[in-house]
């Protein structure tokens, strides 16, 4: 009986990883469509999200069936719960990618601000790196690595605040760019939220490895932390 369980769990882990990689690609494709002003690519992101949503439901069905039929305990139980919870975070990141793609469509044809688009590209790179490191930590069941990934959310928060300040300044400078800038504001906010979901993902990796439920979001422990870090720098 346990062999059967191990086999099923292995499949579940494989599907979870697949979903994670797909979401990372969705994030890439959505911001690329945004920066390239590419409507076709944006529409493809929106269509592809249906797959991510289906993947999440099928993952949940399999996980719930394993719990109901095999009644796992200890690390087996933690493995399933962490997949169940973390897949919700992945799915939400997929939704955010769709929102970014919708901004592509909305903003298309309006005057743009190149430097801000470059900064958004940089922030996307950071978010994808964080996600891929988190998935790596998941595969290795590496609690330490997961905690390190969560700490990088501070970088994402910092970039968010800096870009937001630039957006306000750009709006004040040139009212022609207000539509594009409102899109930028939305996109960086969505990227910042993705960072928070990657922190959640890291928390589930820690739970899977140790059984400990932790709060790893540095901003939640001290909401003023990011602003303080920025003030120190200036």
């Amino acid at each position: 009986m346990h062999e059967l369980f191990a086999d099923e769990l292995k499949k579940l882990r494989g599907r979870f990883m697949e979903m994670g990689i797909n979401v990372s690609e969705q994030i890439y494709a959505s911001t690329k469509s945004f920066i390239d002003h590419d409507l076709k690519a944006a529409n493809k992101v929106i269509e592809d999200d249906i797959t991510t949503n289906k993947e999440e439901v099928s993952l949940e069905e399999r996980a719930l069936k394993l719990i109901a039929l095999q009644q796992p305990v200890a690390s087996d139980f933690r493995a399933i719960i962490s997949i169940l919870k973390a897949s919700t975070d992945l799915e939400r990141m997929g939704d955010y990618s769709v929102n970014i793609a919708r901004e592509t469509i909305r903003v298309k044809g309006n005057p743009r601000v190149n430097e801000i688009e470059k900064a958004i590209d940089e922030m996307t790179k950071l978010i994808r790196e964080m996600l891929e490191e988190a998935l790596d930590a998941y595969v290795r069941n590496d609690e330490k690595m997961a905690r390190k990934v969560a700490l990088r959310d501070l970088e994402a928060d910092k970039q968010y605040i800096l870009i937001r300040n630039n957006i306000t300044a750009a709006m004040q400078q040139d009212s022609e760019t207000v539509v594009a800038n409102s899109g930028y504001m939305m996109v960086v906010r969505l990227l910042e939220r993705m960072g928070d979901h990657i922190v959640n993902l890291s928390e589930w990796i820690v739970y899977n490895a140790s059984g400990e439920l932790v709060e790893l979001n540095p901003g939640k422990k001290d909401p003023e932390m990011v602003q303080k870090l920025l003030n120190d720098k200036l």
Binding site: H2, V73, A74, D76, F77, G211
Partner: protein, 258 residues
């Protein structure tokens, strides 16, 4: 061997210190020290032959004279594992319920009063009161109150087992030992026995040996895992089943043995 014994920091009902049980040349329990918190349910789990039932039986001196039991069993600050301590007195305080329901071939009423009468209680008011409270505590009263003179053998398996629990309770013990009390019962009767245990916890300390992992996790506050005659892990049940400390415990509860 890797072991993990968590301290309970609670008032104890009974504890063993370096307990060992030897049958002739065959040692069944080795150097087992365990603390059982008062008014809690502690489950003892382990594979067949792990020594868990042997250990449980030593707690109320159920082993006969050919079996050697070394070490201490501390109950109310006294080591009860001494020849000078009367085992019948011990069993009045520490009752036992067995795997197969074993009511006497007598009426329901007489099953409860038998031990009381043996112990010199004859006042019918006291006896009637004990019948009612014991059967109520064992959650059987409502089902049999109009039929107390019916033979206990006419009851269903689950009812018989609850009658055996009521019979143990009639002597007002302090601790109830249960050796696989539900393994011969169907799921409905099992649930009734478990519900009874949860209710009894208020007034009694319960130590239950079970093969059924889900039963241990459902019903107990603490869990001890035995393997090859040794205590491998003892901790709060929620910790044992979520984050066991010893690999062997994890393998056993996950069904990953051998």
């Amino acid at each position: 061997m890797d072991t993990f014994i968590a301290p309970t920091n609670l008032e104890l009902a009974i504890e063993t210190k370096n307990l060992e049980v030897i049958y002739g040349d065959n040692q069944a329990v080795f150097d087992s020290s365990l603390e059982f918190p008062r008014h809690k349910i502690t489950a003892i789990i382990g594979a067949s032959g792990s020594g868990k039932s042997t250990y449980l039986r030593s707690l109320n001196r159920m082993h006969d004279k050919s079996v050697t039991v070394n070490g201490q069993i501390i109950y109310r600050s006294v080591d009860i594992n001494q020849p000078k301590i009367n085992e019948y007195e011990v069993r009045k305080q520490i009752g036992m319920v067995f795997q197969r329901p074993n009511p006497f071939a007598k009426s329901i009423r007489n099953n409860i009063t038998f031990a009381l009468k043996k112990n010199g209680i004859t006042d019918s008011r006291v006896l009637e009161e004990r019948i009612e409270t014991s059967l109520k505590e064992a959650a059987l009263w409502d089902e049999v109150k109009d039929d107390l003179d019916k033979s206990a053998l006419e009851l269903s398996g689950g009812q018989q087992q609850r009658l055996c629990i009521a019979r143990s309770l009639s002597l007002r013990p302090d601790i109830l030992l249960m050796d696989e009390p539900a393994s011969a019962l169907d799921p409905i009767s099992t649930e009734k026995v478990e519900a009874t245990m949860r209710k009894l916890r208020k007034d009694y300390t319960i130590i239950i040996v079970t093969h059924n992992m889900q039963q241990a996790s459902r019903v107990s506050d603490y869990t001890a895992f035995f393997h090859q005659g040794r205590v491998i892990e003892f901790n709060r049940t929620q910790d044992v089943f979520q984050t066991p400390h010893v690999k062997m415990t994890e393998d056993y509860i996950s069904g990953n043995f051998g």
